[in-house]
Symmetry: C2
């Protein structure tokens, strides 16, 4: 099995043009010696600027993707080469992560990495085989190569973690989509990609908790743990 | 079962007196409008200052504890009230976390929280029943109340995640100790507390990955997932 894991609608984008002149954005950018258009939007630093932004509750949350990536890329499943990780951002960018990329554990360095990725298109910027790149593709194109697409959704059908894992490992190239935003629901486009909506716990769990639970169950089923 | 989970030797302490006058520490403190003695030591910001510090590779890593706490406190096991989380720092402080504490996902806010905790002794500072407090106790006193003490150690005996979990849930109040430092081994004091040393994977895993794997296996065994 080779699992495609997509962190969907992650609030990880550069500051949008309508906020480039906002005082809190300008102050933050100048403190860091960067132009506002090359800074990542982050609700912890740009809360006052973001209040009037469309869908603000789904944006400016690189911290959530950071936690999910650390969870996924250090996983035994990834170490064994059985995982392909993508992130899809609110603005529609698709990031592809090489299996051996090491994500900085420090949040600041992660922000710097994402800024480099979003402005240069790849990391490292001069690499022919980059560790992370922005792919000129769509979620539909990625998922269409997968045999079955599961969407983790608190309104989905409840399955036990192990029986869900058992199903997954029967597929050659299954796909799991995990929402990477703070609140709200997936956009209709995402729902339409899914073959099935699944939950593994009765309460809503954080994105990184869903990630670790699903991956651990698969690792157990595959005898990796 | 009520599991006591201890994150041991976490690199989460205030800047030690010998570094209060170091330029990189002073600059960082003044930028944040704080006295150096009230700032958390962080290798990302104080690398040049830390190079001559004893055991520097085990210190100044609040990011690791941050990830472990987010993993543990959002876990289904904790939500069901079956987990008690402690952190033990390099300098020997013991932090006790209430089950319903919400750890900030943003790293900066987490640093502010730890600084408040370490200077005031509790969070919130004026609470009679704080969400987090520094306990005037020792690891030995905490573990002596537990029926069996497991130390997660890459040099320990390999167990499969599920058979390990099965053992754990047979105890009324087991304890698991997970090292919360970047590299090096536990100090002898920690080894001496353990009844057993266990690993669940052949390669070294990050502290938060060990945390999520062990908790997930227990949650599966208890039928929570």
């Amino acid at each position: 099995v080779k699992l495609t894991l997509i962190f969907a609608e992650a609030g990880v984008d550069l500051v949008p043009p309508e906020l480039w002149k906002h005082p809190s954005v300008k102050k933050w950018a100048s403190k860091r010696g960067k132009s506002p258009k090359k800074c990542l939007l982050d609700i912890s630093f740009h809360y006052s600027a973001m209040k009037e932004l469309k869908d603000w509750w789904k944006r400016g949350r690189p911290d959530i993707l950071h936690l999910c990536l650390l969870e996924a890329l250090d996983s035994p499943l990834n170490r064994k080469g059985m995982l392909q990780v993508y992130a899809h951002t609110y603005a529609g960018k698709i990031m592809k992560f090489r299996q051996d990329v090491r994500i900085p554990k420090n949040y600041f360095r992660f922000i710097g990495l994402m800024e480099q990725l979003l402005t240069e298109g790849k990391v490292p910027p001069d690499s022919e085989d980059p560790l992370i790149k922005i792919e000129d593709t769509t979620l539909r194109a990625i998922t269409s190569k997968c045999s079955h697409i599961y969407l983790m959704d608190e309104m989905g059908v409840k399955k036990s973690a192990l029986s869900f894992a058992e199903e997954i490992v029967k597929h050659e190239n299954p796909c799991i989509i995990i929402g990477c935003f703070q609140s709200g629901t997936f956009s209709p486009d995402i729902y339409m990609l899914a073959d099935e909506r699944v939950k593994i716990f009765d309460e809503a769990l954080a994105s990184w908790t869903v990630t670790s639970r699903v991956l651990t169950a698969i690792e157990i089923k595959l005898g990796l743990l």
